[in-house]
Amino acid sequence: MTLLLDRPTRPATPPLRRDRRRWAWGLGAAAVLVWSLAGAGLFGADVLNPGGTAQFGRFAAAALDPAIDAAFLGLLARSALVTVAYAAAGTALALALGAVGALLVSRTTWGRRRAGWLAARGLLAVPRGLHEAVWGLLLVTLLGLDPWVGVLAIGLPYGAVTAKVVADLVDEVPRGAYRALRAAGAGRTAAALYGLLPPAAGGLLSHAFYRLECAVRSAVVLGMVGAGGLGYQLALSFASLRWEEVWSAVYALALLCLLAEVAGRAVRRRLAAPPPSARRDPVLTAAVVGTVVLVGWSCWYLALAPAALVSERTVAQLGSVLAAAWPPATDGDLLRTIGALAVDTVQMSVIALAVALPGAVLLAGPAARPAGDSSPGRRVAGTLVRAGLLLLRAVPPPVWALVLLFVLLPGVLPGALALGVYTLGVLGRLAAEATEELDPRPRTALTALGARPAGAWLYGVLPLAAGPVLVHALHRWEVAIRDTVLVGLLGAGGLGALLASELATFDWAAVTTVLAAVVVLTWVVDLVSDRARAALR
């Protein structure tokens, strides 16, 4: 979900020809989708359970009637502080790790040594392949109650993603300044610092804010596995199905996401259209200073002590867990189960995308902020759609999975749809942003020629938006594979469910095997989606 920044630059005038590779990918995708739907039993027996509408209705009705007693709201406010602190400290760690990691995986570092570059990229796939919640559960066993658990669980996987994005950004910077500095006798480090970093700074800053927003949602998921904060309150209320309280927590989370989004948006705008004067932009300076203060406060608030990371106890725990985890379990039964569940996992992620992608494409238009003046009706509709998308991604996937299970029979489908609606929330927003950034002229021209809005959208917007939105969707595919761990517990749950049960029974050898399988699966999906993205370019 690293988008915005590593989107390929499209040629100004795409060649008008049918690309065979795209046809092959399209047909392949359709075949995989049909296979997944068949695997989910959509063409076989009943999947709907109309008897559960009352239970689902209770969940939905509570959305209009959230718990608003002062005591609970106070609790949520204090919890929100914890969530913010984890998100900010985790993001800061991710950026620091990302900066170091980028050095390791940038083509600039490796030059022509392709094998070294590939190995470094492969190394990054390991932290990236595990979900934050899995990192959290693993780190709890090493560090106990230390606040580093939450910070590292966000920082490590996000750091790997950031490293990849930063490396790509730096690699894409035009080489002129760098070469000139080298030719003038500057060292490689100085030349990179002064020749490559400044042009990439804008992209880096906007990625940092995007990470912060994602980190808020991750911090909530971590809270659900025990790191405290909003997620913890949400998990407590969720376990006893107090929907009114669940919704209050969801609204609080949506508010935090909105704040991060608004701040990130302001910074991105400022970067895209800097004020004419050559002076330092006060808004950007304030953003940077504010971020530094926020991170400092987070470290203080969480009482992060670097010493805890290398304490005797941590080292002893690490030793005992590693001893139990190696060698990995390789019995035939486990491997067969893993194989079957890997198939489930892929099918779930494909169905999730198949739900999210068309939804995102349809909603992107209304959700995008129109460039010029627009009618009040249009603005209200846009706000409503954006708020809806925000709520879709603010309700954590495990909650979606349970409430969808009320109205669907157990199997792959409820989990897949839960991921689907959650992904729709994220993808819808990304698609709306992609639409906002499109060239508005084709649509304006069609409208001026008398085309109706639907026609202008179909011929003037859809063809242009399809590429970027598909690229985002392919990025989300890898994320969806990892997210299956969140919805896996009910019924058929894929590798995530297996991982959760091996962790619950402390079978470390099996945990190692399942983790390896998850990492390999993520890596394969990443590879396939990378090829597909290349075909779209």
């Binding site: 349970l402 009320f406 019924g491």
Partner: protein, 310 residues
Amino acid sequence: MSSRRVARSGGPDALLPPLSRRALLAGAGAALAAAVTGCGRSAASSPAALHVGAVPDQDPDVLQRLHGTVADAVSGALDLEVEYTPVTDYAAAVSLFRTGDLDLVWFGGLTGVQARLQTPGAEPVAQRDIDRAFTSVFVVNTGTGLAPSDDLTALAPLRFTYGSETSTSGRLMPAWFLREAGVDPQGFPGGPGFSGSHDATLALVASGSYQAGVLNSQVWRSRTEEGAVDPAVVRYAESPPYADYHWLLGPQAAARTGVPDLRDRLADFFTGLPPGDPVLELFGASAFVPARASDHDRIEEIGRDLGLVS
């Protein structure tokens, strides 16, 4: 125009001295360094405090309330600082007990066995009178048309959900009694579900997505008394009794708190609570009784048998 002249003429931007890139970077770096080094303040308030926790099995809202009361009561009786630490994950509670972050934990039967096996020297302290003979209730959706009975084989062809994976009353013992009755505990159509909590089991069976399920009898009774059970859910059977929840004390607690006979004093405190004490009421019990490790030998055996204890 120099920035000074702009400032003098009231230019809005220049009231702050212009920040050079180097100053900005240095300032940011210094602030971060100060924050990180300033982070040394200790996370746990007092090293000598007794850290109490609980597996998130019963109504978590009540657990919170309950352990605030317990922490105060223990603190008053033993003249110790007591802190309650919330935990939402079964495996996390076991891990935190092993790492020594939690000293005294209210564990379920299975999680207690897991914790004891991973933490040499851990000792059970006390259990409720009802925990010696705890039971689970099998519930079915009225749509199945099943009348209450002791015959568990009738459940085999139904879609069936357990509670949390390592819950004793919501998973381990029901699975054992099902197997005793000749039903494969993993063999329900589509595989059994794991709802995650006793309340979620009730809601899922009420919806009919799962036709049958099993939950802690204490939660079933309290929900029935509250009238919170959907009429679509009916009790089908109750399991034979088994030993469940208990307080488990970590091996390092006595030395750390500086109370050598901590286990005995805790046991005396719990077993000596007078009838009607608020602590007993919150636990839904009339008395605490001493607990021994051997009470849970059967749970350990069954856990190994079902692959839940390794």
